[in-house]
Amino acid sequence: MEIQHIMQVVDASFVARQSIEKSLREIDRRALNAMVLVKRHGNTLAGYGVVAQAFRERAANLKESASHLQETIAPLIQAHMRILQHQRFVASFSAIAQAMAQYGQICASLENIRTRWRDTIAREEVEARKILLRLIATVDVLQEGIEEQEYVVTNGRIEAALAEDTGAPLMRVSRDMGEAVRTVSNAIRTYRHQLESLAYESSTDI
């Protein structure tokens, strides 16, 4: 697999993790704001209170799923860097073989060693692909969580419309919630695309 492609994914992992963490913090803050607003209005906003509570709980779940992201990214990177190391060995043995070929010499045991390293790399690539698929599954869980959160936001909008005559700025609060969810949703979608393209490349390699 192309090392530069892996580096792009490594960079993307960093960016995605940062932006997911940041937007999850934002979601949590929005959820808390909504709860405060509901409390201040007493019983009149009870319907919206349920929504705000659900929003907060989902936010906590999302944080939990996001925390597993790093656990899978690190082994993936390690696996690819191990492959890079072993490719250096193969490159060295290939250089020797080439130099010998210039003098019309062939060394069978050298060829054996080279093949053995190639086999090792092939095994490691299979392993790396498994880790990658695990990472994609983790991202999927996160994405599902976001979809649930989007559903809660929609409910919030309905409740906000119903409670419009109370004068509480629920529409704005709902809009802010929606905004925060959309940001994290976009970050995850982009990241998933990048992982998919790596998975596609690895499937054609193996």
């Binding site: 580096m7 960093f14 690190a74 990177i77 390690q78 190391q85």
Partner: protein, 250 residues
């Protein structure tokens, strides 16, 4: 390996990557300085531990932000990972002691951009911040440099201050201990390293004289743990008293 922050002020940060998992090779710390989205890696480590160093690094910075690497001296625990880093990011500028150029090339990546540091030292600009290359020759290598960040008051001291610690060790020498007891306990694990690996008492004296002029909040060795606050002076005093070069008996 784990990553821990040492210094942070806005977009200016220092990290330590420490506590290697692979124990068959000497445990080594790797440091990272980031400024305004650009970063420098210091003594990036050996070929064998490269995958774990890289994975730990990615926890704290995006690898594309790496603009430069600093190599304090020629040892394999410091620079044998060079060809792998170069394969990942060919833009990295390698700042190495001029004297060791031809030796370091033996690690591979003949086309990697090496920037020679002359014997008298020099500096480098990373993300708008100037870091100084301070000569530390014969401590222990015959051409050896340390890195000083005057803003963060961090001195990366290569093998000076090194200690051989067991797996699971802390990144700091008893940071919260005011009594100096933690320092005493720690320094026992640094003693043999300095006595045997450091060759020159004259070089040691000269280095202490120069380094004592600097304001240092964190003295960061390549092995063992960081000396912060009062432990910095404790270390300098201890080192001053120690006789090194014990491989030969006068």
């Amino acid at each position: 390996m784990k990553a821990a922050p040492i210094f942070e002020a806005g977009s200016h940060r220092w990290w330590i990557l420490y506590d290697q998992e692979e124990r068959r090779v000497i445990d080594a710390n790797v440091y990272v300085m980031e400024s305004n989205g650009q970063s420098l890696i210091l003594d990036p480590g050996g070929f064998e531990v490269f995958p774990q160093v890289f994975a730990a690094l990615v926890e704290v910075i995006p690898p594309s932000s790496l603009k430069a690497a600093f190599v304090s001296h020629q040892d394999p625990d410091i620079a044998s990972s060079l060809p792998l880093w170069h394969a990942c990011n060919a833009q990295i500028q390698w700042h190495i002691p001029k004297l060791w150029e031809g030796f370091i090339r033996h690690y591979g990546a003949l086309e990697a951009p090496l920037q020679n540091i002359p014997d008298e030292g020099g500096d480098v600009l990373i993300g708008g911040r100037r870091l100084e290359f301070i000569p530390a020759h014969y401590l222990h290598s015959s051409a050896n440099f340390h890195v000083y960040d005057p803003e963060a008051k961090v001195l990366f001291s290569g093998d000076v201050g090194a200690a051989l610690l067991p797996p699971g060790h802390d990144a700091w020498v008893g940071r919260r201990d005011r009594t100096g007891r933690a320092f005493d306990e720690h320094i026992a694990k640094a003693k043999y390293f300095h006595q045997r690996w450091m060759p020159s008492n004259a070089a040691k004296k000269d280095w202490i004289n120069r380094v004592s002029q600097l304001e240092i909040e964190h003295l960061c060795p390549q092995h063992g743990a960081i000396y912060s606050g009062e432990n910095v002076q404790r270390f300098l005093n201890w080192f001053d008293e120690l006789t090194v070069g014990m491989g030969i008996r006068p």
